[in-house]
Homo-oligomer: 317 residues x 3
């Protein structure tokens, strides 16, 4: 594996392999000194064209636990502002010696484009509405661990609720959950569904569509809530956050109708009072902070898979 651009590029076996490696990385993270020399001397550069302290910090922590050097290339103070092309910027930083770029960009496909301009590995940390593969992997790892599903998600019932249309998380999660065998239902108002799904099924989306969250609740193993962006109202895709919340928000009443073992997940940051009405700290099934913790271990596994070698693996023992 040279790059991690999309969940579509991974086979189910590769996903399982990354999740097993994540077990190892989670064990390292739980040590008193959570640090191994596996990637010593490797240079991991984060290149975020959209702000995301949360994701950048997670990758940064992951890289440091493997003893890689990290650098945060701040786009706002860079030559990008002097009119330099993205290509020249990438070629220039690469020439200083970079082993991996962690890229977030508002344009779908930017990480793939960047692979043409450098010998470094590229990790897609979110591109437009397209993909966010490490989020999907950490979500799989969280479900696998919390529901003890090491062998796959066969028969697991997962509902993803919210703004599917504009969500790279939904796109990556659907592909990963389905690859592991889960039955995925998308729940959203028609205006927030991808066009391909508004009038029925699509071969690109191995899912069932529903507009009725309440009838699904008792049968779910996992309820996955997406963040609702306030700008969707300005675009007239949502009548009001209040109405959204009434139909799709997780209230205490809805939470009480979940099965006792069911998980509640959210990629963060949450809009309390909108999609998350109940305090998740009160929900026994909430694994939202586990997702954050697992995010570091998954990103360690990804960086190690891209940059490490068999010998390095011994160094993580």
């Amino acid at each position: 594996m040279k790059h991690l651009l999309s969940i579509e590029d991974l086979t189910a076996d590769q996903i399982h392999g990354l999740l097993e490696l994540t077990d190892h990385m989670a064990e390292i993270s739980s040590r008193p000194i959570p640090k191994v020399p596996a990637l010593r001397g490797k240079n991991v550069v984060s290149l975020f064209f959209e702000d995301s302290t949360r994701t950048r910090t997670s990758f940064d922590t992951a890289a440091k636990r493997l003893s890689a050097d990290t650098m945060n290339f701040s786009v706002s103070s860079s030559s990008v502002n002097k009119g330099e092309s993205l290509r020249d910027t990438i070629e220039t930083i690469s020439a200083m010696g970079v082993d991996a770029f962690v890229v977030r960009h508002k344009s779908s496909g930017a990480p793939l484009q960047i692979t043409q301009w450098t010998n470094a590995s590229i990790v897609n940390a979110g591109d437009g509405w397209h993909q966010h593969p490490t989020q999907a992997l950490l979500d799989c790892y969280t479900i696998r661990t919390a529901l003890n599903r090491r062998d796959g998600f066969d028969g697991l019932r997962i509902a993803i609720v919210g703004d599917i249309k504009h969500s790279r998380v939904a796109r990556s999660d659907v592909q990963a959950f389905a690859a592991l065998g889960a039955d995925v239902t998308l729940v959203a108002p028609p205006t927030l569904l991808p066009p391909a799904l508004v009038n029925g099924n699509s071969p690109d989306w191995p899912v069932t569509v529903s507009h009725d969250l309440d009838s699904l609740l008792p049968d779910l193993d996992v309820l996955y809530l997406l963040r609702v962006q306030r700008e969707r109202m300005d675009e007239a895709l949502l009548p009001s956050l209040h109405e959204y919340s009434a139909l799709y928000g997780l209230t205490a009443e809805r939470a009480a109708r979940l099965a006792p073992h069911a998980l509640v997940m959210h990629p963060g940051p949450m809009n309390r009072g909108v999609e998350m009405v109940v305090d998740p700290g009160e929900l026994p099934g909430s694994v939202i902070l586990n997702q954050v913790t697992n995010g570091v271990a998954v990103r360690m596994a990804v960086l190690f898979s891209l940059l490490g070698s068999g010998n390095d693996l011994k160094e993580t023992a």
Copy 2:
């Protein structure tokens, strides 16, 4: 000790203990390679809701000398700007694995509040007008070293001059100096005194109040000048900086009336020409840069006390 929130939480013995540990940290800082592995693998995150490169750099240097990993959580580019609550932000970063947060916040009590939301240790790096405990400790350490007062400050005469009312430094310093036995006099115009002191003494403030700096000067062991903020004029608390300077500024004439052994201190950044009229580089008694140097050693001692163990202490030998 789990947190360092306020000087009020420390006994005189605990203060003495931290100052003795600071001696050890100062010795480490003077080595050709000023670095020990004591906090290897610990993750220290600075969370500054108010800018302060000076204080943040001091903590950062301290953490690195102890081999901790450091992360600077930039509030301006974080999810705080996407409407995430402070609680969700803290819980999220904590879930990535944080051993200590170094917090500066404009609201008094914010660091205490944050202790409710994380298992990490909290170091208060300045909250509103309330406390700045590491500043007080470095000030104590500077006096202790410069005046050779290892056993305490009994009988030492210290004047703190300036905007006491809005100063967390003054509040913390008064408590620390008094705990070690010093006689503290506050010198300020009535508009810049805390309300409790305007009409006399207060049990909360173990100090004497004076409005006449000149009569005090010859008897002082320590003259501590506070920074005067220009916004106090806009608030009509000061008629003019010029008038302030005439009554309370350290001129060459005033400096000449200090005892030969007396120290001149300032927490920085200085307003030259206002509270500091004379060039402090010309004053034999100025220990203002010693305060900065000692700040790193004191913060090493604090971080080590919160995160280190007996075994780690051997590693600092």
Copy 3:
């Protein structure tokens, strides 16, 4: 060598010595783990009063390969904005323990001024129109390596093209290339030449001046293009970028008239379509990315010369 402020401060022998040390640093950079403990415990602080992610990242990478600690003192969030003088800022940061400051400043002479206020070594990373000595050293190293000129540049024909007047790169390059024996020709419209050269030669500039790029091309060993700043048009120093490009831009036609062995260089960031019309990726003689790669090795050599010792040199073996 205590500071690196200007190429003028170096003898030809010292330049040769730094280039030989750079060979060693380039070898370290090519190792699987490009890291040596030579500067462990040294604290290198970058202090950039002008943004330059490119140069700052290069110094940062260099320092990390030598295991120094690095700190980026962000001017925008510092006490400089609270009215603190540059001197107080420098003295304060120095007091925390700094071994070298890497300084970029818009005022010529600022790095020299700073040497008066600290015991740390100062590396000039660009001051006004004055000097950019590490750029000149990396340019020398690139020519030396690409043209196999380890013994000097005797008889080498180098043309520097563009806005000489406002270019610290041109000033430093001319001095370094001439010190090593090259014949340097400056090519520019009269409005972009230093005043001393507009009406003929100047003892300060060991160069020939030409306004006719085309007649020079076939005889050059090195064609060095400078970045043309768009603000020169606003200042009426250039009629239009289009006209500049027609007379001085490197087009495919001009590139075809270069000798097969001739190098094309640029300090970056490039203005494609202005001074660089042809795609440099298509030019066999382009060593522009080599300049970037060599920049890290040269800066390792400079930092090591300033902060390392003979014993440390063994540690780089």
